[in-house]
């Protein structure tokens, strides 16, 4: 890690950055310099779209269509809803999410936070399910926080679409 000033001062200023930085310090200090923001103008970058499509397939396994064509359509719809969800959140949430997604795009972040050795493109659904199951009950608070953030963004986005109502058996709002 390049230093300007004593290491302990640098650590303190990094910790102010929030969720991602505590992991960075534990995992690999150099990763900070290589991180690209996960959001561009408040929207998911290509890298973040890949991450959310894999996360979405994991969280919603058993709910999303299995066949590749319909699955891709459902994922694209989900990603649009994730963009809309993020746009409504305050700046500090967007900043934190951008940092987190930037970190998860690095191999150090993906391994250190999610516990995934394969990259996002190649990871199989069973591999991802195993990694997420461990994250969810981890003794490291940060890993639980990240699991819950990814789960909640995916779920809230998916169920905000009327396409999900058939899955639930929700008849929609009563007309007034």
């Amino acid at each position: 890690m390049s230093t300007y000033g004593p290491p302990h001062l640098q650590r303190r200023s990094l910790l102010k950055l929030g969720i991602a930085s505590a992991v960075v310090l534990a995992v690999a200090g150099g990763a900070v310099a290589l991180m690209q923001p996960g959001l561009q103008n408040g929207k998911l970058t290509e890298s973040s779209r890949l991450i959310f499509s894999r996360v979405g397939q994991t969280i919603l396994a058993g709910t999303l269509p299995v066949d590749e064509g319909p699955n891709q359509i459902a994922i694209n719809s989900l990603l649009d809803r994730v963009d809309a969800f993020i746009a409504a959140t305050p700046e500090h949430v967007q900043a934190e999410l951008s940092q987190l997604l930037g970190l998860l795009a690095t191999s150090a972040g993906r391994w250190g936070v999610v516990g995934l050795s394969s990259d996002w493109h190649d990871a199989t659904l069973p591999e991802m399910a195993t990694a997420f199951a461990a994250m969810r009950v981890s003794s490291v608070s940060l890993r639980v926080q990240v699991y819950q953030a990814l789960h909640d963004i995916v779920s809230a986005s998916y169920f905000s679409g009327p396409e999900s109502w058939a899955v639930l058996g929700y008849p929609g709002p009563r007309a007034v």
Binding site: T58, A88, T89, A129, V137, H151, S155, S160, Y170
Partner: protein
């Protein structure tokens, strides 16, 4: 036949509304009373000050939305009517808080449950905070007026099954449950209260006191955040405000949008927000109390899949409650909890159901049979339940640091046990505790063992909140409180605080009527001091 929209009608009549698309803000505004916020305490105050003939300006950071906008769709509601898009969290992300952000405040999106402040809570305030005038008899007429003004009465229609099963299950265990009073008039029994009432049946501030004040000549500024008080010589000299977008991002890099000058300021932004404004303003705080003792009624949950159809999205959201577990131990003993149920719409259900993937997918199909029960814990009455502390983010926005103690988390365990037993008595086929290690179990015996084995840690235990209280607590002296018993700030003589942040503890009941009734008394006192006039709410 389309339903009326009283807000659009009022705007057509010439209401003075500025900010956002309603019109540019002037560089400064002068008035008699400036009210920050437009929710429970703000609305009551605005009506009474207007009745007393005072020139009132109301400053609201959220948007002006009304019945034509309320389409009973969660994504629109969460994005436009709630703080932080319904995702406001405590510092360690252990609690997710639902708080309103629009004209009418949290009253625009609450579930209508209305309870007077419990006598046991008042007694605690008298004893620990010297609040001798906060007693049942003295407050009764003020509650009575609020109940009349807002049409508060026990719900007369049959509870939906989602609520009835609480009564049924509890009764089998000898646990008493009652009907909830609601602030509704001509309710269609839809269940969409949390997304804004599309029929104007819910008697929120949006359709009652705020229109009264606007018809009486008050001015409403929307999408305008009260940023900072200018303080000198123990008085507020002025309030500087900035324009903000729907997601709270400042417009114009946060440059000043308007300066409000008033004889008296009433802070009613709600808990968390009101202390934050005072912190930004570096208000005098000699005993370091400001923002401390912020309470949430932390909620533990269990999800049951019932044998019968529940349709928890349909019908008045909350109509049955039980206070049994508030009375099984002293108020300062192990944390007590109030039992209620939650309405379930797709996002709320889908996002809150613990788990993911294939296992959870099966549960999604059981949605019509799902019941989510709530144990609202009564925080603030024990030295291991002192609540949280409001801090400021670098942006000046509030951040609540509320660590979940073992004491509170053990209360969550007891809450889950109580709820699971009731759900099985009511006919549950399976119960899922709100915990990341919570597996579904199909008998009470198995569920009891499972809940007793859960490590009740923060984050793993899913805790929510829909009630924010405290942070500018009332007390008989400045060593114990930020606010005087008459609602005036202990160090700032022309600032009153009229919202849920004045409560020295949590209420132990859904707080809206506590705010209406208590603020009714405080605002009548303020009106009398400012004008000599006696005004009442009803």
């Amino acid at each position: 036949m389309s339903l009326p929209d009283p807000i659009k009608e009022g705007l057509a009549r010439g209401w003075k509304v500025l900010g956002g698309a309603h019109g540019a803000l002037p560089p400064s505004i002068t008035c008699d009373v400036a009210i920050i916020g437009s929710g429970a305490g703000a609305g009551i105050t605005a009506e009474l000050m207007t009745k007393a003939g005072l020139k009132v300006v109301i400053i609201e950071e959220g948007q002006l939305k009304s019945s034509t906008d309320f389409k009973q769709r969660e994504p629109e509601a969460y994005a436009s009517l709630y703080q932080e898009a319904a995702g406001r969290q405590t510092k360690d992300k252990g609690i997710t808080i639902l708080q309103g952000r629009s004209v009418g405040g949290t009253t625009t999106v609450n579930w209508t449950s209305s309870f007077r402040t419990p006598p046991t809570t008042l007694k605690y305030w008298q004893e620990k905070f010297g609040l001798t005038d906060y007693n049942v008899e003295a407050l009764a007429p003020y509650f009575q007026q609020a109940e009349e003004r807002l049409n508060i009465a026990p719900w007369q229609t049959s509870p939906n099954e989602n609520n009835e099963l609480l009564r049924r299950g509890a009764a089998k265990l000898g646990i008493h449950a009652e009907v909830i009073p609601r602030n509704v008039k001509g309710c269609y029994n839809l269940g969409s209260c949390g997304m804004g009432c599309p029929t104007n049946a819910k008697q929120s501030m949006l359709v009652t006191t705020i229109p009264f004040a606007l018809d009486g000549g008050a001015t409403l500024l929307v999408e305008t955040r009260a940023e900072k008080f200018e303080i000198a010589n123990g008085r507020i000299q002025s309030l500087s405000c900035i324009a903000v977008k729907p997601n709270a991002t400042p417009v114009n890099a946060g440059g000043p949008a308007t300066q409000v000058i008033a004889k008296h300021f009433v802070l009613a932004g709600g808990a968390i927000n009101s202390p934050a404004l005072l912190l930004r303003s570096k208000a005098p705080d000699p005993h370091k109390l400001l923002g401390t003792r912020t309470f949430l009624h932390p909620v533990a949950i269990t999800t049951a899949i019932m044998a019968n159809t529940v349709s928890a999205w349909d019908g008045a959201p909350q109509s049955i409650y039980s206070d049994h577990f508030l009375g099984t131990q002293p108020i300062d003993g192990p944390i007590g909890f109030k039992l209620e149920v939650a309405p379930l719409h797709p996002v709320f259900f889908g996002a809150n159901l613990p788990g993911f993937g294939e296992k959870q997918a099966q549960l999604f199909h059981r949605y019509p049979n799902a019941n989510v029960m709530l144990a609202l814990m009564r925080d603030g009455f024990h030295d291991q339940a002192v609540g949280g502390k409001v801090e400021l983010r670098s942006s000046g926005q509030p951040l609540l640091d509320y660590p979940l103690t073992e004491f509170v988390l053990e209360g969550a365990r007891r809450g889950m046990l109580a709820m699971a037993e009731i759900q099985f008595e009511a006919g549950a086929k399976a119960v899922y505790p709100g915990h990341e290690m919570g597996q579904g179990t199909t008998t009470w015996a198995d569920t009891k063992a499972a809940i007793n084995a859960l490590p009740m840690k923060p984050l793993l235990t899913k805790i929510g909140s829909a009630h924010v209280m405290g942070g500018c607590g009332l007390a008989a002296d400045d060593k114990r409180g930020v606010t005087r018993p008459d609602g005036v700030h202990w160090q700032l003589e022309n600032l009153s605080i009229h919202d849920g942040s004045i409560f020295p503890t949590s209420i132990g009941a859904n707080p809206q009527l506590s705010i209406y009734g208590n603020v009714n008394r405080l605002a009548q006192g303020l009106a009398k001091r400012l004008t000599g006039k006696a005004v009442t709410l009803a």
